[in-house]
Symmetry: C2
Subunit: 164 residues, 2 copies
């Protein structure tokens, strides 16, 4: 897939087929995540690839949105060490993961982590060390139906020239 097309056509997918994704594709997606921009090259991220159905069901039960994590065959849970720019770095890595999944013909959806009441429960269930902060959970799999296209603010509304 062309890079610019990938950037423009990625959409959040919230309904998944349950058939598995090959391990080599999952690894390639995480590979793209670890190569995101990172302040001071600290790379504070860790990626937990959850495919076991029981674990995904437990995660889905824990969180208030993203019930589809129980259906999607893969959930990549992204943590970062608690450094100054942990949230910027972790978010950049997740955006890369979403794009890599899309480039592989898969759907994905970013479920929020940071600031959510279930952070500690997710971290504990996945045996995360105490210095790890949950950035988000990314569901990945084949879309069960075409992704919806929500309305987007127009380019000329968000683009300002030289100043506001």
């Amino acid at each position: 897939m062309d890079a610019l097309a990938a950037l423009k056509t990625r959409r959040s997918v919230r309904a998944y087929r349950t058939d598995p994704v090959s391990p080599s594709i999952i690894e390639d997606i995480v590979d793209c995540g670890r190569l995101a921009a990172t302040a001071r090259n600290i790379q504070p991220w860790e990626f937990v690839v959850v495919t076991h159905a029981v674990t995904r069901k437990k995660l889905a039960d824990m969180i208030d949105t993203g019930r589809f994590i129980a259906e999607a065959p893969v959930c990549i849970v992204v943590f970062c060490r608690d450094v100054k720019y942990y949230l910027e770095d972790g978010s950049a890595a997740i955006q890369n993961i979403l794009l890599a999944a899309h480039a592989h013909g898969l759907g994905s959806c970013w479920v929020a982590g940071d600031k959510k009441p279930y952070c500690a429960a997710v971290a504990q269930m996945l045996n995360a060390p105490p210095d790890q902060k949950l950035i988000g959970l990314v569901a990945i799999g084949r879309p069960a139906k075409p992704a919806s296209v929500p309305p987007k603010r127009a380019l000329q509304e968000v683009l300002h020239r030289e100043r506001f």
Copy 2:
């Protein structure tokens, strides 16, 4: 450029040629930024495209890293409205901008905004409304020399299977 190749080969560029970037390419890069993932589809972002040399010099003088903003022909300053996930959304948009620049054969570098002491000064200089938070400043232009390739943590170090 292939999407997966773009995700894996983007690097931070800190030395730029001063020749300008065409307005249509700049618009296309911002277009990719505005189509990043965004919590609840709020799209809290605003993109200020700064090309005037005097303004870029003032920005470069204001900030503690990113002196190259004075040389690179374009600086896209990214702000977000102060919503719950402003930093996740703004960071995802910046990652898209970096990738779009790379796909257009341009170099880029993300200079931190949020949490920096110069946030208020940058916002004031660019006439930002009071509810806008500075996410970062992205220098864009043709690389003056090949980007360095900093050491990266190996895939098998950052990838965890089912749990830590």
